[in-house]
């Protein structure tokens, strides 16, 4: 007999992908559209079984382009919607991620990063998509991207991703990697009552007075859904507050695009999440995210044993980039160390924020992620 | 039936066709001419005047010929023409 309903509170032994799927359900997701791709496939597989138990929709589309489009459609129809993919599919989704940003569609995109470029290394981890997450679609816009470094976080950050996307009407990305996705470990599921769920804010005005893209003070417009009688229009074209195309107006263009970016930047403090370990007196601060952060933590501990004042800044929110936090850490530390499973992507942001403080970078491609030893060596060399 | 018809119908004077009321929103017309060409009773023709969009909107030649089939309303791409049936007196029954 198949068990249904949300997982009971307490400890569970899950893989990252399954934890992510369960997180989605716990976070209120009731629509999943996707396309099989390693190493994200298990999310789809698990949801194909679990979604119906909650009356939710699972559908496998003909490709990632369609998946992303369907997610936007479902979101406009009033459901919390998500898709999950990996590099190649993530690339295909970019155009419609742009559409989601333009039409301010709450939705979650899970990208389980693998070795790129192109088909690359489907079964090995990577962190090569983090810049694409920010800049992937054409034009200026803002999104939110989170980076889980444990199976536990694959669960909790998925919920968080939905909350953020609903709060700010913005596509939110969960940038996992092959290891956190396929790794099995203990996950503690909190009681449903303790799980915080945020839903998009509904219009308070009558349909006749409703403008779908008229922002409130937080720069985020309230959102009506199809079939609620508001009869509104949305388009990927530059549009005014009524949602009507204004393709010739520079004024409307700058007003719209700036707001799309500012509704995130002005709310940074509410959005951004980091974890600091032993940073107070740290001479060397390691800045890391995802699976790499776990190696970094043991490296830092080993350094402290050997008397080196090392600390760790783990980025949970990649975008918007926690610039001020990094700057503060950099000001107090003598050096910063950044290990990444790419040729150097987030390190550029760190350098920008660190200003005068020297930043050392340790790149790792293919094979396994950085070992604690490798990161420890880097810390030692930079004391 | 083969025989030739020589007498007009007895009711011919009584027969009243419903009266049409044709409305043309001139400035919404783009002058495609569909309504004029396909009017089965040739009620419309191109006018000489030039509207806000710089085209000749249709004008009514003979409203009494209109039998309110509504094809002009249905075929107009610009929602610029429509026909109503004039609220008619009791005796107008065909």
């Amino acid at each position: 007999m198949i068990k249904k309903g949300t997982l009971p509170a307490g400890a569970h032994f899950l893989s990252g992908d399954i934890a992510c799927a369960e997180g989605a359900i716990a976070g209120g997701c009731r629509f999943f559209a996707g396309y099989p791709i390693t190493p994200a496939t298990e999310i789809a597989e698990h949801l194909s079984q679990r979604m119906p138990e909650f009356g939710g929709i699972y559908i496998q589309m003909e490709d990632e382009i369609a998946s992303m489009a369907a997610v936007i459609g479902a979101s406009y129809a009033g459901l919390k919607a998500m898709t999950a993919t990996s590099g190649p599919g993530f690339s295909l989704m970019q155009e419609n991620i742009g559409l989601a940003a333009m039409t301010e569609t709450p939705c979650v995109i899970v990208d389980i990063m693998r070795g790129g470029p192109s088909t690359g290394q489907p079964t090995l981890p990577g962190q090569q998509d983090v810049m694409q997450a920010k800049w992937g679609s054409h034009g200026d816009y803002a999104i939110i991207a989170l980076s889980p470094s444990s199976v536990q976080e694959m669960f909790s950050l998925t919920i968080e991703a939905f909350n953020l996307s609903e709060t700010y009407r913005v596509p939110t990305l969960l940038m996992g990697d092959e290891i956190v996705a396929h790794m099995w470990e203990k996950v503690v599921i909190p009681p449903a009552s303790e799980i915080r769920i945020v839903n998009r804010k509904k219009p308070k005005v009558s349909p006749s007075r409703y403008s779908p893209f008229m922002p409130d003070d937080d720069l985020v417009p309230s959102m009506a859904c199809f079939g609620e009688g508001y009869r509104f229009h949305a388009t990927g074209l530059t549009h005014d507050e009524h949602g009507y195309p204004r393709t010739q107006s520079s004024e409307v263009q700058s007003r719209l695009v700036r707001r799309l970016c500012e509704k995130i930047s002005t709310n940074e403090d509410k959005i951004i999440k980091v974890e600091g370990v032993m940073l107070e007196d740290a001479d060397v601060a390691v800045v890391a995210y995802g699976i790499v952060a776990r190696a970094a933590l043991s490296a830092v501990k080993k350094a402290r044993e050997t008397g080196i004042k090392a600390g760790l800044l783990r980025l949970i929110t990649l975008w918007p980039f926690p610039e001020r936090i990094v700057a503060k850490v950099a000001k107090e530390a003598k050096a910063i160390v950044v290990p990444e499973m790419n040729c150097g992507q987030m390190v550029r942001e760190v350098e920008r924020a660190a200003k005068t403080t020297p930043v050392a970078f340790l790149s790792k491609l293919g094979e396994d992620p950085h070992t604690p030893k490798e990161i420890f060596e880097l810390i030692r060399r930079n004391v | 039936m083969p025989e030739r018809i020589m007498h007009p119908p007895l009711e011919s004077k009584k027969i009243k066709q419903p009266k049409a009321e044709i409305h043309i929103i001139k400035d919404q017309c783009k002058g495609c001419g569909f309504c004029i060409r396909y009017c089965p009773k040739k009620v419309l023709e191109e006018s000489q005047e030039i509207n806000a969009r710089g085209v000749h909107p249709p004008k009514i030649v003979d409203e009494s010929k209109c039998i309110i089939c509504g094809f002009c309303t249905a075929v107009c791409p610009d929602f610029a023409i429509f026909v109503f049936e004039k609220p008619c007196k009791e005796e107008c029954e065909a």
């Binding site: - | 018809i5 020589m6 007895l10």
Partner: protein, 810 residues
């Protein structure tokens, strides 16, 4: 099809018996029958010759049978009336006595001799002898034959859905045969549906017709095809292949006849059913009781005629969604065994008679328009009102014989129904408005039928004024639109000038304008007045000359409802008989082929009107489909190698007849070749009508003038005949579709030849004469007699030389 039995040629001695009939005094009155019989006895192969009063009587027939037994006769010749009348009788007698019926021959010494030479006993007797001699000569060469049997399809086609067609359809369907009823109009019912009351009983016409109409609509054995026309008829008795063009109704069977569509249809037109006195819409049903009740769309009027739905008012109004503008014209193909022609008649158009001012004066109407006006369901709700002011007239005039009984003003014949119809109408007026003054202007009142006279008397008693003498003209008072009728009362020998409020023209019936089409499709013939001609006016009054085809109603002649229904039942019975039999025998007059002579030129296959001959290239021979063969013999006439001849009309037999004629006094004689259906029948008709013409003509009967080979004509001249006549049906009326076109070609070829060899081509005459044109035949003979009188011996000699080749092979 029954297999043809092989008959070994009878090589035993030929023993001919000749019987010369007195037919009371019909023949004996102007022909010396004894002498003729004596003469017959002298002819070769004749072992016995008798004359008796009535050969066709039972004694006469018994005599023949006994003689056959006792005298071992194996050929019989009867000289009496036309074979078209009694050949079947005598053939039967022969068969009963064991002589194959194809060994019987007849000499027509009544219709074509005694009756047409009443006052010249000597010449008539000479002619009778010649005719007997010809018959004997042919008889000697007769061969026995077996008739093949063709199965009959047990389905009937009825063309025309008037009361006649309806009655015939119901009778046949009730008998259990499948019936296809084809009607041009959207509804069956025809003329009767439009009439208010019927005479003499005064029943409500539609009330008694409607039940029959709906019976047709619901009958499991009847398939009703309305808005349909016959476009092609192929085949032969028992096996007709018919093509029918079925026009789309644009309304499906789902129609509940609620009439909502009509209410919204913006198109208005005069309703033909009411002769335009009421209006209808583009989507309509002609009248309330129409069958089928399904509405129909008149595409000539509908705004959607160009294939684009411009107006969709009816579609929207139709709850049943029964309107379908995608319907297309379809061709229905049927296989039927019998066909009944019930196409009805048209009414005379009085606007061609200016003196009555119909169409000019609003208050001059036709009797048909009157029927609609007086009809409760009609445009005026049964109120007789005059169109000019919608007032009920106080004085009404009926004018009779409008279009009838006058060659100047319409048709020569009496339309049969108008008198009684007017009497009925006058009584209807009296019934509603007793005060009305009614005048009936007539030529003769014909109240010949059951209960008619009573009705006539009643009308007189009710005060209807009958005035003998039609008005010379009607003059209208411009202001009042009243009418002055001016004419002579031929009883009182005085002029009258009568003022009325309204005049009703009692219009006659005439053949339908489309009769010609039906005639062509079914290869029928028509009488001079244009109605279809029956096979025999007395004995086969509902049969067409073409086998398997029958007539019902006014298509054959003007008649009232009772007669139409009677004739319809008769036609149904006749068709039923054929279909009950299930098979029909084809006369053994089909071609025979002598393969060894055939040069495979294929000419025969080209001239055959029935495509019954095909060329088999492998087997190097022509193949003959006897069931399809109509028996015209054109193929035999066309074959110049003698590879084809026609059973029972073989070259030898015909040549024997020619030789018999030309043996003595050829230079005084006319050799005439007449086709069985028109010319020969016409000659018979001349006899029946006792038309007198010169006695020097000798008629040789062929089934079709197409059988007349050039060599026959040439031989006649070669043997010194003074003149030759080739006579057949009018072009287009040919009983064998188009066989007589080949007749014409051949005669023209001969004329050329005669001119080239310096002969007077007038000695060869070509005549088109229908079975009704006895007159035409007689006058042709008179005309030719003049030629015969003028022709000089040297000319005869010249002809003999130039045609002597034709003598070879005898």
């Amino acid at each position: 099809m029954a297999k043809k039995k092989e008959l070994e040629p009878k090589c035993e001695e030929i023993r001919i018996g000749v019987y010369v009939c007195h037919c009371g005094l019909n023949i004996a009155g102007s022909v010396d029958c004894e002498e003729t019989a004596k003469f017959a006895a002298t002819l070769p192969h004749v072992v016995l010759a008798r004359d008796n009063r009535y050969t066709c009587s039972d004694q006469g027939q018994e005599q023949i049978k006994n003689d056959i037994k006792e005298q071992k006769l194996n050929r019989i010749v009867v000289a009496s009336c036309s074979p078209r009348l009694h050949e079947p009788t005598f053939r039967k007698a022969c068969e009963e006595a064991g002589v194959n019926k194809y060994l019987f021959e007849m000499a027509n010494i009544r219709e074509q001799c005694s009756w047409v030479h009443l006052h010249d006993r000597k010449a008539a007797t000479e002619k009778a002898k010649d005719l007997v001699k010809m018959a004997v000569a042919k008889a000697a060469l007769l061969q026995p034959a077996e008739e093949i049997e063709v199965p009959i399809i047990r389905k009937a086609l009825i063309i025309g859905g008037g009361v006649a067609g309806i009655q015939a359809a119901l009778d046949l369907a009730d008998t259990g045969y499948k019936v296809y009823l084809v009607e041009k109009e959207p509804s069956i019912g025809g003329m009767m549906a439009r009439i208010d009351k019927t005479f003499p009983t005064m029943d409500c016409s539609i009330c008694i017709l409607a039940p029959k109409m709906s019976d047709v609509g619901h009958h499991p054995n009847i398939e009703l095809l309305t808005q349909s026309e016959v476009t092609e008829v192929k085949g032969y008795i028992g096996n007709f292949h018919v093509k029918i063009l079925k026009k789309p109704r644009y309304v499906t069977k789902d129609c509940s006849a609620c009439g909502e569509c009509t209410k919204v249809c913006p198109i208005i037109a005069p309703n033909e059913f009411d002769v335009g006195l009421a209006i209808r819409h583009a989507i309509y049903t002609p009248f309330a009781q129409a069958v089928p009740s399904t509405y129909t769309i008149d595409m000539n009027l509908c705004l959607n005629k160009e294939g684009i739905i411009v107006c969709d008012k009816c579609i929207k109004a139709c709850e049943r969604q029964a309107i379908n503008f995608e319907m297309k014209t379809e061709t229905v193909e049927l296989e039927v065994g019998t066909i009944i022609v019930a196409t009805g008649a048209d009414v005379f158009d009085p606007s061609t008679l200016p003196q009555y001012g119909y169409g000019k004066y609003p208050n001059v109407i036709t009797s048909l328009e009157f029927e609609r006006l007086i009809n409760a369901g009609g445009p005026s709700g049964g109120h007789l009102i005059r169109p000019s002011d919608m007032q009920i007239p106080k004085r009404v005039a009926f004018i009779q014989c409008v279009g009838s009984r006058s060659d100047r003003n319409g048709r020569l014949y009496c339309s049969n129904v108008c008198c009684m119809n007017t009497i009925k109408d006058s009584l209807l007026i009296k019934e509603h408005w007793p005060e009305t003054e009614i005048y009936v202007f007539y030529v003769d009142i014909r109240a010949y039928g059951k209960g008619f006279e009573d009705l006539y008397k009643r009308a007189r008693k009710e005060g209807v004024i009958f005035i003998r003498g039609l008005p010379a003209e009607i003059i209208e008072d411009r202001k009042t639109h009243n009418l002055w009728l001016v004419g002579e009362n031929t009883l009182l020998k005085e002029m009258y000038k009568i003022n009325t409020d309204m005049a009703i023209l009692s219009i006659g019936l005439e053949p339908r304008k489309d009769s010609e089409i039906i005639q062509r499709l079914l290869t029928l013939s028509r009488t001079q007045d244009g109605f279809f001609m029956e096979a025999h006016p007395k004995l086969r009054p509902v049969d067409a000359a073409t086998g398997g085809i029958f007539f019902a109603g006014c298509a054959e002649a003007p008649k009232d409802i009772k007669d139409s229904v009677t004739q319809a039942s008769a036609a149904a019975a006749r068709a039923g008989i054929l279909m009950a039999k299930g098979k029909v025998t084809v006369e053994a007059i089909t071609p025979i082929s002598y393969f060894e002579k055939c040069k495979l030129c294929g000419l025969c296959t080209k001239v055959c009107p029935y495509n019954a001959i095909t060329l088999n290239k492998e087997l190097k021979r022509v193949e003959i489909i006897e069931a399809a063969c109509g028996g015209c013999g054109t193929c035999a006439a066309e074959c110049s190698f003698g590879a084809l001849t026609q059973n029972h009309f073989t070259d030898e037999q015909i040549i024997a007849q020619i030789d018999a004629v030309t043996e003595h006094d050829a230079d005084k004689k006319i050799v005439a070749f007449c086709c069985n259906w028109c010319a020969y029948a016409g000659a018979d008709f001349a006899g029946v009508s006792r038309m007198q013409y010169p006695p020097n003509v000798r008629i040789i009967r062929t089934m079709c003038s197409g059988r007349v080979a050039t060599k026959f004509v040439e031989r006649a001249f070669a043997r010194g005949a003074a003149a030759v006549l080739v006579a057949g049906c009018h072009p287009g009326d040919c009983h064998y579709i188009n066989a007589n076109y080949h007749t014409q070609k051949r005669v023209e070829r001969l004329w050329k030849k005669m001119e080239q060899s310096g002969l007077d081509k007038n000695r060869l005459q070509l005549l088109w004469a229908s079975a009704a044109e006895g007159e035409r035949f007689a006058s042709k003979i008179l005309e030719m007699q003049a030629i015969v009188d003028k022709v000089k011996p040297e000319e005869i000699g010249k002809a003999k030389e130039s045609f002597e080749k034709a003598l070879e092979g005898s």
